[in-house]
């Protein structure tokens, strides 16, 4: 019997390539990798590689089906917000069990998502959509202060800015407008001409990693974010699991995440949710129909040392799932913040000392030779630190201690 082949949609800029490729190797799953730019091996005409036009859903589906006619694939899998939509459309064309297309579109678009959640009664901050072409002063008077201004499509808190008064609102508005006019992200389309303004929700923030199976949410991990995310910018740093929040709070957060998935219409596949907890309960900030980003998935192991990517690949092909219980030890990751004003990263000293920190599993520098831009404009971390420990506080301590060992060699940008 032919083994099921997976069409894996990997954008060339993703951090997740190696984790998915190696997970497929461990599971002995035949892969075809699709990217938006040609591989160096395109001309070899291998059935393991294909270029698809990621900028258009219909074109991607047509190209994928044409490929499928010659080299059959069983299912498609996307790894980020954009490719998840493409993979869903391909799966629908292949007749695979998957999410409805409007559900994954709502998961990508912050405004569509909030509208669906508010309609369904899921606790979300008050929000409004604003046209970036208008004078920000006209909007500033109606905003609920403190508020948060967000682009509709960008990931990783890029372009997200808090404003406490009208003057800050106008400054933030102009800054986001300038960011969205940049060459790098002009392809946001109509979503790049609007922004979302929502009330700031106080309280600790958590990230929930989950897997939907026929509408049921399996909570894979709940990460605390020990660094307060109170603005003005919201660069992610520490993720530590298990959560130190009380059990009832954790249950409430998981319940809101599941309600949010149902409200949007998601029924299958990985989800990543950002939530807050305060004296009014759990609040849903974002829900994405994809696994955790960056290299953070390396902080997660399930059952007998199974990676998150293995779980996601198995689910995509309808293979039996392993135990979804996370390992007993506490675990965490630091998305290393961009140092100072950023610059061209020429090198990092102290990585050996950082790796030798008790509890630290690894220090990975991913941006040597690359331009680092601080948030809110930036989107590239210098690297990642991983740690394990008996307790979450041990993990947090190890991550911070390792980070202090790093010395950055940055060349100022022009």
């Amino acid at each position: 019997m032919t083994r099921p082949r997976l069409l894996l949609l990997l954008p060339t800029a993703t951090y997740r390539t190696t984790a998915f490729i190696e997970a497929a190797r461990r599971l002995d799953i035949p892969l075809t990798v699709a990217s938006e730019r040609p591989s160096t091996f395109e001309s070899a005409r291998l059935d393991t590689l294909v270029t698809l036009d990621f900028s258009s859903v219909p074109r991607t589906v047509d190209q994928a089906l044409a490929f499928h006619r010659d080299s059959p694939v069983t299912a498609a899998l996307g790894v980020d917000d954009d490719t998840v939509i493409l993979a869903t459309a391909i799966n629908l064309a292949l007749g695979r069990p998957t999410n409805p297309l409007p559900a994954v579109e709502a998961a990508r678009d912050k405004f569509l998502q909030r509208e669906a959640l508010r309609t369904a009664g899921v606790p979300v901050p008050d929000f409004a959509l604003h046209d970036l072409g208008l004078d920000p002063a006209t909007h500033a008077g109606t905003a609920p202060y403190p508020c948060v201004l967000k682009p509709l499509r960008l990931a990783g808190s890029r372009g997200v800015i808090r404003a406490d008064d009208p003057a800050q609102f106008v400054a933030a508005f102009r800054r986001i407008r300038s960011l969205l006019q940049g060459r790098e992200i002009r392809d946001c389309g109509p979503a790049g001409r609007q922004l979302l303004v929502e009330a700031f929700v106080s309280g600790p923030e958590v990230a929930l990693e989950g897997l939907l199976e026929k509408g049921r949410l399996h909570v894979l991990a709940l990460f605390d974010k020990p660094d307060p995310l109170d603005g003005p910018f919201f660069e992610e740093t520490l993720y530590v699991t298990p959560s130190r929040l009380p059990e009832d709070a954790q249950r409430a957060l998981a319940g809101v995440a599941e309600d949010a998935a149902h409200a949007i219409g998601l029924v299958e596949g990985p989800v990543h949710a950002e939530l807050r907890w305060n004296d009014r309960g759990a609040w849903l900030l974002e829900l994405a129909a994809r696994p955790i980003g960056g290299r953070c998935s390396a902080a997660l192991r399930f059952g007998t040392d199974i990676t998150l990517e293995e779980v996601v690949l198995r689910h995509a092909l309808g293979l039996p799932l392993p135990s979804l219980t996370r390992e007993p030890r506490a675990s965490g990751v630091m998305m290393i913040p961009v140092p100072g004003q950023g610059g061209m990263l020429r090198g990092v000293k102290g990585t050996e000392r950082a790796r030798a920190t008790p509890g630290v599993d690894d220090v990975v520098i991913t941006a040597t030779g690359q331009k680092l831009v601080p948030w809110p404009e930036g989107s590239r971390y210098p690297g990642f630190i991983f740690a394990h420990g008996a307790r979450p506080e041990d993990v947090e301590f190890a991550l911070r201690a390792a980070h202090r060992q790093l010395e950055w060699e940055l060349e100022p940008l022009d």
């Binding site: 060339t12 951090y15 160096t40 091996f41 070899a44 890029r158 941006a367 030779g369 989107s379």
Partner: protein
């Protein structure tokens, strides 16, 4: 010498860890997948003999010693024993690793020398012209027991799609033209790649 010997552990995951030594351990590349195979190479013998280590593979390349183990014990425990094995071996007069005797041709297929020639030819004619389009190159380091060891450079080193090039591209071409190749091992230090063709940036 031993006083100044530096060894840095760089865990890849709970099963694999690279130990970077401050001086060359072996001029070439050798890979061992069992204690029996390690006979004659004192460093690999010692690492396979670590009590409770459950070591399944040792690869030595220049200053790097990469150890794979089956156990889920943290590297902090096993790593000390590996470090001690490296120090003890380098302190001795016998070379840490013996040069590999090329596997001769046999009923299971061509020998390593013959495979090396064919792989080198394939790299020159097919693989390198392809990766050169992205400013990259692939260097054939060795063929041992029908396992190809290679290093990537230029635009491939540290490239966000390097594992796609390796697993979906190079392995695919090798499977197509030289099916006798059993596996491909990449010994590239991708963390040092300063000019990758595709740099990761999206969250």
């Amino acid at each position: 010498m031993d006083q100044n010997l530096g060894i840095t552990a760089q865990p890849v995951d709970v099963h694999k860890c690279k130990f970077v030594v401050s001086e060359p351990v072996f001029a070439g590349v050798r890979r061992f997948t069992s204690a029996a195979e390690a006979q004659g190479s004192p460093l690999a013998e010692r690492i396979f003999a670590i009590p409770g280590g459950f070591v399944t593979e040792v690869m030595v390349s220049g200053e790097n010693v990469t150890v794979t183990k089956a156990s889920e014990a943290p590297w902090q425990a096993v790593g000390k024993a590996v470090g001690a094995a490296i120090r003890e071996t380098l302190r001795g007069a016998v070379p840490a690793v013996a040069a590999a005797a090329p596997r001769p041709a046999g009923p299971e297929g061509p020998g390593d020398d013959a495979l090396y020639e064919r792989v080198a030819h394939l790299f020159e004619q097919e693989v390198n012209p392809m990766v050169a389009r992205h400013g990259g190159f692939v260097e054939l380091i060795d063929v041992q027991e029908a396992v190809v060891m290679l290093r990537m450079g230029g635009g491939c080193q540290g490239c966000g799609m390097a594992s796609v090039t390796l697993r979906q591209g190079i392995e695919g071409v090798l499977a197509q033209y030289i099916p006798e190749v059993k596996a491909v091992v990449d010994i590239t230090d991708h963390g040092s790649g300063a000019n990758p063709y595709f740099a990761s940036s999206k969250k």
